[in-house]
Assembly symmetry: C2
Homo-oligomer: 409 residues x 2
């Protein structure tokens, strides 16, 4: 008898009809002989409604009380789903984060899970109940309600799956799996059957917003098999698992992209030790996160330094950099938010040389100039002018034949 | 430094503006040097909204899950009130029933409070916080959320006041106190300064819907001083306390009435032992509650037997009685729902004779025929034809000069 953790997001439980649809899927899984634990989010719109109430009282609501307020969202959903299951003759019991003792630290609004006491759930499952657990919430050592931050329901599901040693953690969303790239941009984009945790992390952090990064990290750490499926259509979805479970390994799994970055270049910086720290330190002081960082070899004792930040942070980052640039007598500072980052992701590229040159060649053939390059073991990212986004992604999707399923490995 | 428990109902916390008004009152009490614990209900309309959702899923929602759902109502209010207090610079912490460990039995939807662990609250109060507690809810020995049933927030407040040995439990409502009778019926009705628990119980059970009966019983048991005030106007309200605390004791405190009853009379019942049990047993078997019961002395071996039930139960009660009447060869069964009960309430009548004859005389002067009479130590009730309700109440209010404050005792 397999133990399955299923997670349904806000859109999937947006109204009573959709909750009935979820109950149907849960019951089907149970009827197929599985033990089922269901994790649900607040009904779509509910968290925003509660946030609006809180903001009407004060711009910065007390974090502890905000968690008390927001956690009612999932509590409502667990009760309604458990009622719906019971009405269909499927025994069910609901649990808040505190009841199932999802123990977190006390960092309200962005708490981290420390441990889960799964005894109650195990007893319920053994007695034939479906356990319905509120996602996104926990309880701190003082007994105060905490929330894991937005999207935290994915993390709840994976943490529960790990604690219960579940056979699979199924994340139901409004898409039917992870694609080679955004199907809205490339018509021939293909749903991937399997993907490694590392690949998923690269895809997720680059803007494929199917899964929360923290949840994937958690799954990777505990080797929890993760499956992304649609709550509205049938289908096998995409299985995210460890590399050794994946037999047929493509060289490249997908193409991710990110339109949310901006680029800052400082020209003519004296090439002294500690320059990078000085520039990035000024940015970090303002709590601005930096993504790509590139520094070229020096010429005539001067170098150029380029990095990217989130577009929303560009102005604040520029202020910081202008100040440092003046101190360093740098020649010029240039900010540019008309850029995009395109990334090729695949664990297979580790053992295949020539991927980078194939990628750069494909972009050059389309007359796309590459502004920045950055690589990791399983990813090559380039920054290009914003207007080339679609052209670049399509060219790469064709070049690496991502529309075709990979051959058996 | 006094410890005050304040309770605000759904209307008093119906929107953010009203919650701000409540916060103002709480802060004023704290600024006056009191320790304050606030108990709140769900925002008005919220419980009904949640019930409608539950009923849409099934006619009889699973009681455990219904409690999980309904308890989100007060949880929302405690968070919003605590936020509002904090925004005004008044340190506050919110608590659900489970967090403050309001331990109840497992009778979902109508649980009874067994104990309260007040350590957390005491620590908070000592540290200068206002404690904001969700009314109406608790937690059973298995850790499941329970609710006390409708109006249970009054009970929560009184139970907390008793557990904390509070100096006063203030129940804020939409009226400014308890009146000698319904002011909508008698213009000269007067707000009472003080009332005993026993009097309040008689007034409450007879339809003066200011306070929940269970809350008054609780207060009486633990000798908790209870005060009914308006959350919208200033004023001292009505203090409900034990008899020995009330110096100026009126003979009659007020006049209550009840329009919700119906009368059933069985004529010509053979006057044998066990007749009453046989008739009332048949009614009780159908779970119908009986209020007044009257049997007159027998004549010619036959007697008449009359009792009252709630109007909604009249038809079902009549069915039961017709069956028994046939078995007993009773002459006739008469049902009548065009009646009202009017009651004179006052602990002072214990030591004053002549109250009953004064009452009956006042009614007779107005040509009002009395159909039934029933008395307790501090109450005389009569049943009269429905159309005489206003006339009867006004006549008694005048006769006993309830518009005038009582003389010092």
């Amino acid at each position: 008898m397999a133990l399955i953790v299923q997670k349904y997001g806000g859109t999937s439980v947006g109204d009573l009809e959709r909750i009935a649809n979820v109950a149907g899927r849960v019951q089907a899984s149970r009827d197929a002989g599985n033990h089922v634990v269901v994790v649900v989010s607040a009904m779509s719109g509910e968290t925003d409604r509660l946030l609006t109430l809180a903001k009407a009282i004060g711009d910065v609501p007390p974090p502890r009380e905000l968690d008390v307020l927001l956690s009612t969202g999932e509590q409502t959903t667990i009760a309604l789903l458990a009622m719906t299951l019971e009405a269909r003759g499927c025994p069910a019991r609901s649990y808040t984060g505190a009841q199932v003792r999802i123990q977190t630290d006390s960092a309200h609004n962005k708490a981290r899970i420390l441990s889960i006491d799964h005894q109650t759930l195990c007893r319920d499952l053994k007695e034939g109940y479906v356990a319905v657990v509120a996602g996104f919430q926990g309880v701190d050592p003082q007994g105060s309600i905490t929330t894991l931050g937005r999207g935290g329901s994915d993390t709840t599901a994976v943490a529960l799956a790990a604690a219960l040693d579940a056979d699979e953690c199924q994340i139901y969303t409004d898409v039917d799996g992870v694609y080679t790239t955004d199907p809205r941009m490339v018509q021939t984009a293909r749903r991937l059957d399997r993907l490694t945790y590392e690949e998923m992390l690269e895809m997720a952090s680059l803007g494929a917003k199917v899964l929360q990064i923290r949840a994937v990290e958690f799954a990777s750490k505990y080797k929890t098999r993760l499956r992304v499926l649609s709550s509205f259509e049938e289908g096998p979805g995409t299985l995210i698992t460890s590399e050794d479970e994946i037999m047929e390994q493509a060289v490249i799994s997908g193409i991710a992209f990110n339109r949310d970055e901006a680029k800052i270049t400082i020209l003519g910086v004296p090439d002294n030790p500690g320059i990078a720290r000085q520039i990035l330190g000024a940015v970090a002081e303002r709590n601005i996160e930096v993504d790509m960082i590139i520094q070229n070899v020096a010429q005539d004792g001067n170098t150029d330094f380029t990095f990217t930040v989130h577009r929303n942070d560009l102005q604040r980052a520029l202020e910081a950099v202008h100040k440092v640039a003046a101190e360093l007598s740098a020649r010029e500072v240039i900010g540019d938010d008309k850029i995009v980052k395109i990334s090729l992701v695949g664990v297979g590229m580790r053992s295949h040389s020539g991927i980078a040159s194939l990628m750069f060649g494909a972009l050059a053939d389309e007359g796309i100039n590459i502004q920045m390059i950055s690589t990791s073991e399983i990813k090559i990212s380039v920054v290009v002018e914003e207007k080339y986004l679609e052209l670049g992604v399509r060219a790469l999707h064709d070049t690496f034949e991502l529309d075709k399923p990979p051959a058996e490995g």
